[in-house]
Symmetry: D3
Subunit: 125 residues, 6 copies
């Protein structure tokens, strides 16, 4: 797996540890709420992660895009499904989303090439 992917995951994990270990319990509650939103339910985990991807792209947040893309690949979403979700985000959000589409394409290739998805570490959007 390329460095960019593993480094992005590592930075996220380290900083999340710092936040969750800061002794400010409201941060922990928010992170728990965030994790719960993507648990299996009436909507499948795959589709929830694709929804997280759409939300991240229209709000133009690369770190969030990386995380949900990583989760989508781990959960077994196909390239076609990911493209369709990306296109919904592109149409909703407009050309301003294109730089994030470029980033998403770059990361998707790396994540798919790695043949595996997210680390087992707990993570937040």
């Amino acid at each position: 797996m390329r460095k960019k992917v593993s480094e992005t995951r590592l930075y996220r994990a380290e900083m999340n540890d710092k936040i969750l270990g800061a002794g400010f319990k409201e941060f922990n509650k928010f992170f728990a709420l965030d994790t719960n939103a993507y648990q299996p339910g009436a909507i499948s985990v795959q589709n929830k992660e694709l929804m997280g991807l759409v939300g991240s792209m229209v709000l133009r947040c690369n770190d969030c895009i990386f995380y949900h893309l990583d989760r989508c690949v781990t959960e077994g979403c196909s390239r076609q499904e990911i493209y369709e979700a990306m296109h919904i985000a592109l149409v909703i959000g407009g050309s301003i989303v294109i730089p994030h589409l470029r980033y998403a394409f770059e990361m998707l290739d790396e994540l798919m090439a790695a043949g595996e998805g997210a680390s087992s570490a707990p993570a937040q959007a």
Copy 2:
């Protein structure tokens, strides 16, 4: 069906007609692209509309929320599925989404009570 729902649909239809009939063909192309994004594909129409709902809520656009909620109900999404999508949007977008959650709850009850969804007229987000 309550007035608010039918009036919202009517205004949308009338104004879309005005835009699409203005003789500026690029508008028509954009609207066609928008319609295509929600056609059946690797992702089901139900899930695509739920994704449209998430995108609309995090970007805080009531007209867009109404449209995708209307489509979700028409396509047979359950209340539980809609709540789960709304919750993803709430967590991603934060408390600033709450006023739009209130609007969505208000409209959802009206749409569900009507026992039917969107008019057959073509519509855009």
Copy 3:
């Protein structure tokens, strides 16, 4: 008290009841987290509400502006404090904030004239 203020409060209270009574517990957790953020702490409630006002104005959410302005008046913030917070929001957010400054001025006069602030009902941003 003028109608606009009481009606805005009433709609908020009714819709919040609907959301919190929907049986989807994650919504309740988010609302609790939201309420907690403005409790007394190292920062005073007055300043926390002014921070909520700044956040609401730069994100251009009138319902949120109303709520935090209502809370600011209830907590006894002075006009000068409110103007200074509004100005920080205006400078951060730019002329796009001006329509919300107009709304805030309109509501502030009504809230100040009422000689009292928010209803005792629990409320969320």
Copy 4:
């Protein structure tokens, strides 16, 4: 001239007076800066107002759209110029801009029908 146009202008004028008369001089400085941005310069007033329209549409602010559209019509921008600027905004901002495009079309017809543009009162975005 239809009511909607004159009422929108009146509310703006009244509330601007309230803000500018509040005795908080920083507000006045911001408004002056805003007015100056659209004065004649290397870029013509027509094109500056069209730029204001684009900025207002991608940021999805109806009050700002109304103001710049009103100014565009007053300054003699053609329908074709306005459509081209609207299309740039639509492509940049995506389908989330469509509800504001509907509003802009509605207002444009009223403003064009009136055969005249903005009132002579000083105004801010």
Copy 5:
């Protein structure tokens, strides 16, 4: 020409090729629509690119700012015109735009120093 400019252009071109070659035709349609928006029309290409710059700055997208600035310089916009458009964006978008103004100034100097603008390769915002 400095490295930053050429590298930014190269990354954009490579990733656009990847997106446009992915076999998902809706992406291609969106990119074509985007390109069309800046073609000569009732508004000159120079002013359209300046509008693209304003839209990019108020939405705070550095990649988009770079692209439209590059195009503005290529099309022969003067420094004064670019400053006036930047100022409209600064006033509309507020101090939150300042970091992007810094980026734009940095890039503008490099682009102007190069004595030439964008590569001849097709590009998207």
Copy 6:
């Protein structure tokens, strides 16, 4: 003091000099207005800087977050106060703010470790 902090300050100072020395006086006026917004008044400088931090976090601007965090530390805000302001921003802005919370935590540790705050150079958000 670690490099990241000093380099971030240096780049800001250099680019601000470039903007303020460009001979376009409206930029100078905007920067002056921005500086004035955080002067002592009815609200303390500490709380104004915390408000600037909240505004910067909900609008997700790392450069702005750095600047206001730097100012907060210089003005003697406690970790607890900064955490409470960050939490208000997190709840208002949602999980999309988390990557900026990670950045803020990273910078806060560096700024606190340095035992001092912002350079004496004038700076803008």
